[in-house]
Symmetry: C3
Subunit: 201 residues, 3 copies
């Protein structure tokens, strides 16, 4: 139950980040809603399509879509009055990434898939929404270019699995995985830490 | 039966709109065919994947692909002789959007999904092909930036549902839904009517 | 068995081509891996989603992902020392395209689909990974703009089918289809042969 509320919170946070990205592209209100929805549920939808999990979560439980619409509209109203709280949002986004990643990993774990696929599905659940958002904005996805973002998700999902292999109970491993993601993200944001880029000579 | 012919007509019209979009990007003949096909059947394909409806319509009935190829080739030949009839095409496109939207809503309705999902699936069936077309052309999708397009689809699908709730028979609701889409589109085209855009201050 | 090894070889070659494309975009190491994977398994994944073939090949057999990771990392190391061998890579890529195309056509054939869908699925298996790679790089996909690439795949898949209709055994038709793709690609590369482009006047 607490997971469900956290899930909705993650969806809301990702919707807000989608709205802010769309706000730099001069889209209309509907376009903003579409980008917000894609950012929020794109990763989980891709995971469910690849794993053949039907019906897809937001098709049976429309609470997700309502939360996205509410979060997007409130954000659009809010930024008329005040600047969005940058660092706070980044932290909220890190919490969303952490939750989606470990929850996505758990879905693949329940389907008895191999460790590498579990980590991949966790990372995809957390990070693919942002990739779809950037594709719709006709940009090279941010997370492919800089920032410890998907990398933090990979680390979190890996710790979630490793901790269980070393005998930790699933709920604790879940918390540990999330903690790893949040800490790595926070550290990367504060220190401007990045992966090395690769350029052809 | 009449619906099937209308469906093929909608596919043809969308293929033409895909060809004209590709013509501004200097693609080769094959690229033009790909864009035409994606514009015409992309929305329905996405709907079927999300709703897990298999086999997908154009895989079992190849008439769709043949109609797309014929429409695309005829368009490529036609524009060598004459300029494409702009306003007429926009109206034909509005008819295609109207038909795909209400037909897509009906598919979701038959699967006993909730009203919000029915409207969403109708809109997606009608409008997602154009989004995919713009992504392949490396552009921010037009319908996210301006114009009453997806909005008209949302209104049409909603009227289709509401009319049935108020006791209207399904065939009449179908026509009403389509009429709403076409009228909104025509009005938007003639008046240059748009949704307000959202920009970060 | 020999097909499986060829399949892995094709995956490796496509991963290398993905790395080289990403290297022109200043992505970080993880972004390069993502592009490499999408280039290598994107076409097959799209085919499996559209044909409802589950579980998807790389989810049950993680060898594919390991081969991609190895090929990508080796390429990133190699290009620090030497320029990538351009023509050789193009030829290797042609071999990968040939194999994926005919193998993809065979998958659709085994599902008893119609000839036009068999050719389409073959072409998609071979060429869609490169399209996804270019979308993520925010570029109009190369194969839509120039070059005999998807066209070679279409020709190869068609010959594979036609040869069987004329009584040729499947293994020989498989080889013939691949040969047609490779020869057309080689000819197109050496002669700079292209499809005519289509531009609105």
């Amino acid at each position: 139950m607490i997971l469900y509320w956290l899930d909705l919170l993650g969806v809301a946070v990702f919707a807000v980040s989608g709205v802010l990205a769309a706000g730099r592209k001069g889209m209309d209100w509907l376009g903003v809603l579409v980008i917000a929805a894609l950012t929020a549920i794109g990763g989980g939808t891709l995971r469910d399509l690849l794993l053949n999990r039907h019906p897809i979560f937001w098709i049976v439980d429309t609470t997700y879509l309502l939360v996205i619409a509410a979060a997007a509209l409130l954000t659009m109203l809010y930024v008329r009055w005040r600047a969005p709280p940058g660092k706070l949002l980044l932290l909220a986004d890190a919490a969303g990434l952490a939750l989606f990643t470990v929850a996505g990993a758990q879905v693949a774990e329940a389907a008895k898939l191999s460790p590498i696929i579990i980590v991949l599905m966790g990372t995809m659940t957390g990070a693919a929404g942002g990739v779809l958002r950037d594709i719709l904005c006709a940009e090279i996805p941010l997370i492919l270019r800089r920032d410890i973002y998907a990398t933090a998700a990979i680390a979190g999902a890996s710790f979630y699995l490793l901790a269980q292999m070393f005998g930790m109970g699933r709920p604790w491993a879940f918390c540990l995985g999330m903690l790893v993601v949040v800490l790595l993200r926070a550290y990367a944001i504060l220190r401007g830490w990045r992966l090395p880029t690769f350029s052809l000579p």
